[in-house]
């Protein structure tokens, strides 16, 4: 059962509770008909709520604290995962995890930002905000994958790259730029999945690949709605408008030609049924990887660079 309930989720959760209670009593009482009516009602409610979500509500879903995170997906989707640590230069960034694993019978390198579930684990994970050594660790693992001809999967879920003093001293900008540069011609297939928040350069630093997929209830943009509001409206309170203006949801980005595919989530969001969300994701990843593996490496890289080269609209 969900621990955190968003405002628009409340009526649905309440109805679900009622149905669960009635089912408990239905052993002694005959409530079958009433339960069916209520179940129909909750289904309709779910549909109407989730089809009518605003962009800001989708941002809230993307940040839902019960949503599966990178390690949850790794645990649910893969076997024999062995986590690999460190950038071989400075230290191990806990905001990003990565390692080798089997996706069914497919050996892959899987890397993603990791958020925490409570204060303690969030401090440990730095809220999923990577430092330069995190980008360098990720790049090291990607090069390792390329060396042994293993496809790379990255799972993106970050409120941004960490904007701290030490991050600047160690070259946050250079670390991200280097990843964009290296990922664009890495000689192995790369599949990117936005599983939660995709904020700015901090997300893109793991985001250059052959296929870019977005889960249904996630967002991806150049800036968070809050920061956009604070800069352009000079106030923190225009986040709803900023989210609308940024057009940052999965359908928006598909229409903009920036992502390739939307991954459906269980009704109500991935947090309502994590195993099902992982199962859907796994199936799609296997399908994408098997297609990419058929391409010659040169062709793969050429197509990857062409794909990003086409992004953006202008007038001549």
């Amino acid at each position: 059962m969900a621990k955190t309930v968003l405002e628009f989720e409340k009526p649905i959760i309440e109805l679900e509770k009622k149905i669960a209670e009635m089912k408990k009593y239905s052993e002694s009482l005959d409530l079958g008909e009433e339960i069916t009516t209520l179940e129909e009602k909750v289904n309709q409610l779910r549909k109407s709520v989730y089809e009518g979500l605003t962009r800001w509500q989708k941002v809230q879903l993307a940040r839902h604290p019960d949503r599966p995170y990178t390690l949850d997906y790794i645990n649910m989707m893969t076997t024999d995962f062995i986590e690999l640590h460190g950038d071989r230069s400075f230290r191990d960034d806990k905001a990003v995890v990565g390692g080798l694993a089997f996706l069914d019978s497919e050996p892959v390198m899987i890397i993603g930002q990791q958020k925490g579930r409570d204060t303690k684990s969030n401090v440990y994970r730095n809220f999923g905000m990577m430092n330069p050594e995190g980008y360098r660790k990720a790049l090291r693992l990607m090069k390792l994958a390329a060396k042994f001809k293993r496809p790379v999967i990255t799972l993106i879920d970050t409120p941004g790259a960490f904007p701290g003093l030490e991050a600047e001293e160690r070259g946050q900008a250079e670390a991200i730029a280097r990843n964009l540069f290296e990922m664009s011609h890495l000689p192995t297939p790369i599949v990117i999945v936005i599983i939660g928040e995709g904020a700015s350069g901090g997300a893109l630093g793991l985001g250059v690949g052959d296929r870019v997929l977005m889960m249904e209830n996630t967002w991806y943009s150049v800036i968070s709605p809050e920061s956009c509001s604070s800069i352009l409206w000079r106030s923190w309170s225009f986040k709803e408008q900023a989210a609308e203006a940024l057009k940052l949801t999965a359908p928006d980005l598909l229409a903009q030609g920036i992502i390739d595919r939307i991954i459906p989530e269980p009704l109500g969001g991935a947090h309502r049924n994590p195993p099902q969300a992982a199962e859907i994701l796994k199936g799609i990843l296997l399908e994408e990887i098997s297609k990419l593996k058929k391409l010659k490496t040169e062709k793969l890289i050429e197509k990857r660079i062409d794909k990003f080269s086409k992004m953006g609209e202008y007038e001549e």
Partner: protein, 281 residues
Amino acid sequence: MAWFRRSKASISTDAQRKDIPDGMWTKCDGCGEIIHKKQLEQQFYTCIKCNYHFRIGSKEYLQFLLDEGSFKEMDRKMKSKDPLNFKDSKSYKERIKDSIRKTELFDAVRTGSGKINGQDVVVGVMDFSFIGGSMGAVVGEKVARAIDKARKDKSPIIIVSSSGGARMMEAAYSLMQLAKTSSKLAQLSDEGVPFISILTDPTTGGVTASFAMLGDLNIAEPGALIGFAGPRVIRQTIGKDLPPGFQRSEFQLDHGFVDVVVHRKEMKETVSKILKLIWKS
């Protein structure tokens, strides 16, 4: 008093403050020295007393960097389309129109080919005065095409950056320009053609996190602010004042992200020397 102090800094107000000064006399932002316009021009818009480098536009920079009359501009009239129909307190279309009128430029970078002491080069020079030198699809596309030209012609490419980062009003499209320009540089690098990045005040955000940091050589002008996050954001994050010189060129050199810091008046000769060392046989 409200008009002395802004609670939040913005890209555009900063630009106005440090743009090329009008009038005959200018006060140096570095030391307060009063400098005559003619003298400032002769000094490549740097302060004779404290070496402060004023922010200048692509027009001036191209004059300093290239052989006279050698610049041939590419894609001069490429303009933003406002694909998202973006509107905050003002519409993006209006902002673009106003900026074009005010700066007589079409966007925040000019690209083309030219010569440096007779050596053919491809160049790109950014204009901070155009919406804070921000990178949207036009800047990304023009830079990408310049890199393509360098690769095709086997000509070294030099890009002079000054930018507040990615352009918010083009949202995800802007973000993707980081990937676009960086992937073009990877292609260029695979062909062995040199890229020299010149970082000027300020180079931050998405431009630093893409092409500006990816030079075979990174050259900075003295005292330029160079970083990923802006100082204001970092101050908010750590809740402390930042040490003096933080994120300046010399700091970046000390931390290993800039090869050399070069005074603007020596920039052309330095670039020319480097090209002879790494490119001409």
